[in-house]
Symmetry: C2
C-alpha cells in the first residue's frame, strides 16, 4: 500500500488549496471558512496552508479573485457560444443568468462570505475593487455592442444590471430554496425588454 509521491509543485498545490477553499465556502458558507476544513478538503495537513499562503486572509482574497475569474469566463463562454446573438450579447447574458455555471445558490453561499469579508478587510476591499472594475468593463463592452446607437450612459446601465442580477440572485437563493428560477428569470427578461425599447 505504498503511496505514490504526494508532493506537488507550489503552483499546483496553491491551486488545489484555492479550489478546496471554494468548495468549502460553497458547501457550508461562512462556517466552511476554516483552515482545518479547507486542508481536510484538500487532503493535506494544517500546516501546509501557511507555507503556501502568508495568512488565511490572503488565501480568501485569492479565492475571491478565482471565483470571479471563473464567473467572468463563464459569461464569455456563453456569449461566444451563442452565435445567434453576436450583435446583441446582452440577450445572451440575460438568458443564461440563472444557469448553474453562472449562478447557483451554492455559488451565492461563497459570494456572500466574500462580501462580508470585504466589509472588514482592507486587502479584501482592494480585491473587490479590482474584480468589480473588470466585470463592469466587460459588461460595458457587452452593452456597447448591444446598443451601438444608443446615447444612454453605459456605465450607469452596467451598474444597474449587475445590481439587479446580484439582488435577484440573493432573493432567489434565500427565498427560492428548491424552487426553479423561473420567476426571477422572467423579471430579468422583462427588464431587458423595457431597456431595449427605450435605449
Amino acid at each position: 500500500m505504498k503511496k505514490k509521491s504526494d508532493r506537488l509543485p507550489p503552483n499546483e498545490r496553491r491551486s488545489q488549496l484555492i479550489e478546496a477553499t471554494l468548495i468549502c465556502l460553497m458547501r457550508e458558507g461562512a462556517s466552511g471558512l476554516s483552515s482545518r476544513k479547507i486542508c481536510a478538503q484538500a487532503q493535506v495537513s494544517v500546516g501546509l496552508l501557511n507555507y503556501h499562503f502568508s495568512s488565511q486572509e490572503e488565501l480568501v482574497a485569492i479565492a475571491y479573485e478565482e471565483i470571479s475569474r471563473r464567473y467572468h469566463e463563464a459569461l464569455k463562454a456563453h456569449i461566444d457560444a451563442d452565435t445567434k446573438n453576436q450583435n446583441m450579447p446582452i440577450k445572451t447574458l440575460v438568458s443564461c443568468a440563472f444557469e448553474a455555471d453562472i449562478m447557483s445558490p451554492d455559488q451565492l453561499r461563497a459570494w456572500v462570505v466574500f462580501w462580508s469579508k470585504t466589509i472588514d478587510s482592507k486587502l479584501m476591499r482592494a480585491t473587490h475593487g479590482r474584480i468589480n472594475q473588470r466585470l463592469q468593463n466587460y459588461l460595458i463592452q457587452v452593452l456597447a455592442k448591444s446598443l451601438p446607437n444608443s446615447n444612454v450612459d453605459l456605465q450607469v446601465l452596467a451598474i444597474e444590471y449587475s445590481a439587479l442580477t446580484d439582488g435577484l440572485w440573493l432573493d432567489w437563493s434565500l427565498n427560492g430554496e428548491h424552487q426553479s428560477s423561473q420567476l426571477w428569470q422572467t423579471i430579468l427578461n422583462q427588464w431587458l425588454h423595457r431597456t431595449l425599447m427605450l435605449a
Copy 2:
C-alpha cells in the same frame, strides 16, 4: 458610588440585548456576532444572554426581525410624511432609498450577516421568509397606489424593485466606501422614470 438597581423586567432586558446585537453587527459585521461582545455592549455579564434567549441563533433571528421591522417603519414614516406624493408613494420610496435611516453601509454590514446566516440555519430561513413576505406585501401596496390603472404584475415589479435596491446597496457599500450615494441614486431614479413611462 452605589449603583442604582440594574435589574430590568425581561422584556426590557431582551430589547436591550437585541439593540446591542444590532449595534455590534452594524459596527463590526460578522466578527461582531459574539455573545461576549454583545453582552459587553449591553454592559451585562455573559451568562445573561442564555437566560433570556435559548441560544445565539434565536437571538440573531429575533434581531433580524427587529432590523426588518425598523426598516419597514422607516419606509412608512417617509411615505406618510411626504404629503406631496400621497398618490405616488413609489416616488417617495425611491427618493429616500439612500437616506441614512433607510440604508447605510453600517446597516448593510448587519444585513449581510443575516443573509449569510439565512443560508445555514433553518430558523433563520423561516424568519427571512416571514420578513420578506411582509416587505413584499407592503411594496405591492405602494405600487398599487402608485399605478392604479396599470396592468403590470405588481408582484413581479415589487421583487424587481427590492432586488434592485438590494443590489445597489451592496454595490454602494462595498465599492463606494466614502463616496456619496449620488451615482446609485441616479440609477434608481432612472429606473423609476422608465418604469412609470411604461406602466
